[in-house]
Symmetry: C2
Subunit: 426 residues, 2 copies
């Protein structure tokens, strides 16, 4: 075969790199063997000898101070979780390797993904007739996967659009079915949730879709519309309030969420779906977007985002240790109330555009009466180690995202800063 070199010719072309490799791996030369060992020799695990020195990172310098991160996602993670992850990054338990190096089909990672799922099921009290999938591609991939799996091209589906994300979900769905907007908050700049009686649902729709919390506009469903379609199927994008409070999963056909707000790093998307809705994907559905394939393979049809799933598992553990989602919701309400009250008590210096009864507990957009001061506000806050307070580029102003992992102290500090800033600029 003229098209390929033989291993022998490769051998001749290859200079020895043993020394380089040896030094790179800090492997004792003594354990290296001649390429042709004449007879059996005893073997000790030289690998162990690579770990006599302390492989820990250096003690943190002043530069390792943590700051308060109000980013909308990726967002702050619990310090406990980060420190646990750091302690296990190089070698996980007795495995001899990092979680990032584990076969996704080996017993160690199997235990990690199974515990992550069972802890999530405990947190949300997910009924057994629902499947839990750990996928990739973000909620934006689910904007396509949901209609591709739940309906055919001629089927109609209903979307309640309360912000940019619901609108994106609707637009993507138009590729795969007859998607219809049954209510839109656009005319009111996405500051409201409709009174459900005012929404004219199509009884022939395959599902009703909502975005449970709009990350950019800060409007959040406080309860959920009853789907009037024959199947009674409600689908919710819960990316930015997932696991921030208890949810009655049995009210939904599908819940999906990107992990990077409340439960982990970006790169993991969680889908909770009623099992009877699985198995009807359109023929054009990419195999990776087919819920049936993913459910049959327990999210392991191909290699899943293993490290991200591991991180989500650590967060689920932490949420359970905090007492579960009822306790987490109490803390989130406490934080949100502090912040919203500060607006209301500022006599108009700070303004939140969102209708009070549907203000998000997670994403808090606000503006200044004197908008020319907003850049200064963000700059001074950053000096005080409170960052990522700039509003989304599509709406401007400011936004404080106060997810599960934002400590009460962070919100207290922000509120104190706001009062101080107002006093100095009123």
């Amino acid at each position: 075969m003229a098209t390929a070199a033989s291993p022998h010719s490769l051998m001749l072309k290859t200079p020895s790199t043993a020394a380089a490799a040896g030094s790179r791996t800090a492997f004792p030369v003594a354990t290296r063997l001649p390429a042709t060992a004449p007879k059996p020799i005893s073997i000790k695990c030289a690998a162990a000898t690579t770990q006599v020195q302390d492989p820990r990172p250096p003690a943190p310098a002043a530069a390792q101070e943590r700051i308060f991160n109000f980013a909308a996602g990726p967002a702050v993670l619990p310090e406990k979780v980060l420190l646990k992850a750091q302690s296990e990054l190089y070698v996980w338990r007795e495995s001899g390797m990092s979680v990032m190096e584990m076969s996704h089909r080996g017993k160690d990672f199997t235990s990690i993904i199974q515990k992550a799922e069972s802890d999530l099921r405990a947190l949300l009290e997910i009924p057994p007739e629902y499947a839990v999938l750990f996928l990739q591609g973000g909620a934006t991939t689910q904007f396509a996967a949901v209609p591709l799996n739940l309906c055919h091209p001629d089927d109609s589906v209903d979307y309640i659009v309360t912000g940019s994300w619901g609108d994106k979900a609707f637009k993507e769905a138009q590729k795969y079915c007859k998607a219809k907007v049954v209510w839109s908050g656009k005319a009111e700049k996405y500051t409201k949730i409709p009174s459900f009686e005012d929404v004219q649902q199509d009884p022939d729709a395959k599902f009703l879709h909502i975005c449970a919390n709009e990350t950019i506009h800060g409007v959040e469903f406080k309860d959920y519309p009853v789907p009037k379609n024959k199947g009674g199927i409600l689908v919710a994008d819960m990316s930015s309030n997932f696991c921030s409070k208890p949810v009655d999963v049995s009210k939904f056909g599908v819940i999906y969420a990107g992990a990077q707000k409340n439960v982990g790093p970006s790169g993991v998307t969680i889908v909770i779906i009623r099992k009877d809705l699985i198995g009807n994907a359109q023929g054009i559905t990419p195999v990776m977007l087919d819920y049936k394939i993913q459910a049959e393979n327990a999210s392991l049809y191909n290699t899943p985002p293993c490290y991200g799933i591991y991180m989500c598992g650590l967060v689920f553990e932490d949420l359970l240790e905090q007492g579960g989602l009822k306790e987490v919701e109490k803390k989130n309400k406490k934080k949100a109330e502090l912040l919203y009250r500060a607006f209301d008590e500022s006599k108009g210096f700070y303004r939140c555009p969102v209708e009070p009864s549907v203000r998000s507990l997670m994403n808090v957009p606000f503006t200044l009466e004197k908008s020319e001061l907003e850049a200064e506000f963000i700059k001074e806050a950053a000096k005080e180690k409170m960052v990522q307070l700039k509003g989304h580029r599509s709406v401007g102003g400011m936004r404080a995202s106060i997810y599960n992992a934002m400590p009460l102290a962070g919100v207290e500090k922000l509120v104190a800063f706001m009062r101080d800033f107002q006093a100095r600029h009123a």
Copy 2:
């Protein structure tokens, strides 16, 4: 709106959790402020005070010994890279946060993804007329994305199938175009690469697709077929030999690879595509699979797998420090030759099914003459801290994956063990 509670009623329902939150965040009570501070107060960054104690993980116990991991992917990563990642996990440089917590649009993550791309461009000498994308979903998602972006339903495309992965790519493509297998190694159990003269290519095909290295069967293209189609477009899945040796990118229209073999953790998929091939996606293409959308947004159309991209960047840095891909290839050839020679010198005790001229430098499948000893071989190797040597469930036998990050010492130890095992069981 009867459907939502007002914030005031929420306030009344909410017990104080300041103490709990305070203890959870180790935040000094003194810095906590009354909800209604009467007048401006000075603010020091209390956040800093949370870091007086050493947040490092405990020193490693014996359990933190590293072992030799021959997994096919996710696979071994360079120790240097893991230790660097561990040292930065809790706080990245001066950012005050973990890479996992960074906004994907902030200046810190922007510097991380831009350096990852420029280092990858340097490693592979990627010409400026090629775009580099950091995506999600694994190569399996690209099995759909490639035909969705490069051709229309009536277009024909050619696939050379040299193993399971090429076959999966072909089957997925059938959903989106007229895919044809122009050569298959299946009858010979995927142990060969064709002589390119023997492959009858369709001049009207939109592209010719190959899998450059078959992870399961261990066959690797040593050079590449010249596409005979009008566009001259060659597409390659390089998942399991990406960045293991220099590649002339200009010979390809598209190169794609899952990161979890040679360059990072699972959850990142790298696509290198000639820019003139971007912008022709079929209407049914999910927005996340549309190369135009991803290229126009520099892989930031939605939140990318930030931490995985950061890890890939650390690996690219390490590969450059090693002297680039020419040096890396030398080390890989040295390791592979040691192992293949051991088979050839075992007088048939160990057998490699793959045709010698196309044996993979990355994935080395082998069997025992006495197949009843294979379970024992795997068990004894694991006792010697060499793990993941079991062959893929679809082919059985054994497989040693010896990616870039597998030290020469690991292969030397395996070869010594093989000789010892043979002497004891011959």
